[in-house]
């Protein structure tokens, strides 16, 4: 493994090796500079950290449990499987970890209006939730395709007082919602803070979102030390933009014996041309403020991608994942829509946990991973979110298997 002894990214210019950076219109530079300065102060400010910790405990419900999955472990008959239960966060996914941190930053910045993009709607719900709690105006951009397949979350956001703006351009999914949110920010930057939901976009966002999500990995480390008195051998997480994955991976990056596996969405299959396996099949490029691996055509146009899970339906990936791939610290694999659907059922029946379709990609990878493991090893899977939001999709796809 070719990991540097001291992993310390991003650098002063916001780069993760050659990735990351600030590829944005000049209008946004002053806001990004201000955000970075404030964040660097807040990171070492005890009062800020105490306020965030208290919100994470008393509002978000942290720490989330690390559940030993006995029947799933017996099913494979190999390594012990633990599940990190981000599905038990308030609002049903890891997204609130970041939204809480960023709303505190927005307050310090004196911003009165919050915007966000959302794919599956989980980040939109998390943002609408913190805006309701702190009394700030909230506008969420969401692709029309996603509005249709994640109706329940759209309704939730509206109940929370957010305005949901349908995005009709391009593929009408997460990438277009993100572009539209950036355009809004360029226009309203003086009173608006943009809460990006994943470890994507221009510096300092990939760093800030990673740091706020690292609570997942830090807790996992402590919990496993208490229950097993050791580090895990494998950690598996799904990767769209990559925030839940970075959140659980990051605290283990220097623990070189812990094997980290990111699972991307292979959609109809990686040979089908209809997938989101960015790190598996993409090439480096510049998109939405960052240099990173992208799914793009021969002319550098961004590809229209597909995944059954709206949260993974994105042609880019966080720049830190691009670096972690290149230095071979994280292995990136992919599973198809159908494999993910089967995995949702498996986890429901064996553990009584209905996971989001995004998360199901990580679970599905166990079919490939577990036969290669030993009984004395430990595998942790990040259960990034719950699946209630996906019931319509699941019923339409595999309803007959259930009923």
């Amino acid at each position: 493994m070719k990991t540097q002894t001291a992993y310390n990214f991003p650098d002063a210019k916001g780069k993760f090796g050659i990735y990351g950076g600030k590829f944005v219109p000049e209008t946004l530079i002053s806001a990004l500079t201000e955000l970075e300065k404030l964040y660097r102060e807040a990171r070492h400010d005890k009062e800020f950290q105490d306020e965030l910790d208290s919100l994470q405990r008393e509002y978000n419900g942290r720490p989330t449990p690390l559940t030993f999955a006995k029947r799933l472990t017996d099913h494979y008959g190999k390594a012990k499987i633990y599940l990190k239960r981000e599905d038990l966060c308030h609002t049903g996914a890891h997204k609130l970890n970041n939204a809480l941190g960023q709303i505190l930053l927005a307050k310090k910045l004196g911003k009165t209006r919050i915007i966000a993009e959302t794919g599956a709607g989980q980040h939109g719900v998390a943002t609408a939730t913190v805006c309701a709690k702190f009394g700030l105006k909230c506008v969420v951009y969401m692709g029309e395709v996603d509005i249709e397949r994640q109706k329940l979350n759209v309704f939730r956001m509206k109940m929370l007082g957010a305005e949901v703006v349908p995005v009709k351009s391009g593929s009408r999914t997460l990438k277009d919602a993100t572009s539209e949110a950036i355009r809004d920010w360029v226009t309203n930057v003086s009173d608006t803070h943009y809460i990006i939901g994943s470890v994507v976009g221009p510096h300092p966002y990939p760093m800030i979102v990673r740091d706020f999500q690292s609570v997942i990995g830090n807790e996992t480390k402590d919990q496993l030390r208490n229950s097993e008195n050791q580090l895990p051998d494998y950690i598996v997480a799904c990767v769209g933009g990559g925030s839940n994955a970075i959140g659980i991976f990051y605290p283990f990056i220097n623990d070189k014996n812990v094997k980290l596996i990111g699972v991307e969405a292979a959609g109809y299959g990686i040979d089908s041309g209809k997938h989101c396996a960015t790190l598996t099949l993409g090439q480096p490029g510049v998109f939405q403020g960052m240099k990173t691996y992208l799914l793009q055509d021969a002319n550098g146009q961004i590809s229209e991608v597909h995944s059954i899970s709206a949260g993974l339906d994105y042609p880019g990936v966080g720049p830190e994942h691009s670096l972690l791939k290149d230095i071979e610290r994280v292995r990136y694999e992919s599973v198809t829509d159908n494999e993910a659907l089967d995995a949702t059922l498996l986890l429901s029946k064996l553990e009584g946990i209905l996971s989001a379709l995004e998360t199901a990609h990580a679970i599905a990878y166990l079919n490939k991973l577990m036969p290669t493991t030993n009984k004395d090893e430990i595998v942790v899977v990040n259960i990034s979110g719950r699946g209630d939001k996906d019931l319509n999709t699941i019923i339409s796809q595999i309803g007959e298997k259930v009923l």
Binding site: K22, V24, P25, G170, R183, V186, G285, V286, G300, I302
Partner: protein, 267 residues
């Protein structure tokens, strides 16, 4: 290679402001684009800013987004863009009336990176392009993007209302050809009204920009806007309003008429 700054200087010396017109390459059709560009030049555009279509144009509003999408659906690639530039350059060189009018490319980073910066520069120069504007490459990424392959191609940088005095100075230092002063915080598009703060900021920027000529763009929609901005710049850039006119016009001469109106206001 035509020097953009010298051309603007000549126009200013004759008592006029320069008029730069933005066109999306290959829009509305691939076939008629060169004819359209020539008409625009013949009716008083002092230079052309030719937009390289991109699937995800972050800095653009609805009008230019749609034209970019339409151009991609027409199958326009960077190769086509250079082909148009070559043909337009040939027309410029042949005509005594059009001589010295420069061509500028405006494009997002990714298609250029994919084409290869070295190839891009070579092909741009050989097709008579004088300058390049990349809206998603700010000062922070200047070194990582504008490498030594850029030789005679002039790198035009942008200022915005959120740029500090200090940054405007640095942008002026690094920019070549002219400084592109973005009038408002926001994307490209048609504005009906500009408030007092917009003019104050233009005045501020125009005072700081010393090394380069300064052109104002974003939101300028009609002859009246051109007249409002004229005291604060060496020229103006009109994009969305022209693209809208192109989408609606029944004849190419209708478009010519609109350009002439804008040009007449550049006094």
């Amino acid at each position: 290679m035509k020097k953009i700054s010298e051309h603007i200087e000549q126009i200013n010396k004759s008592g006029r402001k320069a008029l730069s017109i933005f066109l999306t390459a290959g829009f509305p059709t691939k076939e008629n684009f060169v004819e359209l560009a020539t008409t625009v030049l013949e009716n008083g555009a002092d230079m052309l800013e030719i937009g390289i279509p991109f699937s995800d144009p972050l800095a653009d509003g609805q009008i230019i987004q749609s034209s970019s999408q339409a151009a991609l659906e027409n199958g326009v690639t960077l190769k086509d863009v250079f082909h148009y530039c070559e043909k337009i350059s040939a027309k410029i060189d042949k005509s005594r009336f059009l001589r010295d009018k420069p061509l500028i490319l405006m494009g997002y980073a990714n298609p250029i990176l994919k084409y290869g910066i070295k190839n891009f520069c070579t092909d741009a120069e050989s097709s008579g392009v004088s300058g390049l504007i990349v809206p998603d490459v700010p000062l922070e990424e200047y070194e990582s993007f504008y490498n030594s392959d850029f030789k005679s191609l002039e790198k035009i940088l942008l200022t915005t209302p959120t740029s500090s005095d200090e940054r405007i100075k640095e942008i002026d230092q690094r920019s070549e050809g002219f400084v592109y002063c973005v009038s408002v915080t926001g994307t490209t598009g048609i504005k009906n009204k500009f408030d007092e703060n917009v003019l104050k900021n233009l005045e501020r920027t125009y005072t700081i920009v010393k090394k380069n000529k300064m052109l104002i763009g974003f939101g300028i929609s009609n002859a009246q806007n051109v007249k409002t901005f004229a005291p604060y710049c060496d020229g103006v850039i009109v994009g969305s309003a022209v693209i809208k006119k192109i989408s609606e016009a029944k004849t190419i001469s209708e478009i010519g008429g609109f350009i002439k109106e804008l040009s007449d206001a550049c006094v």
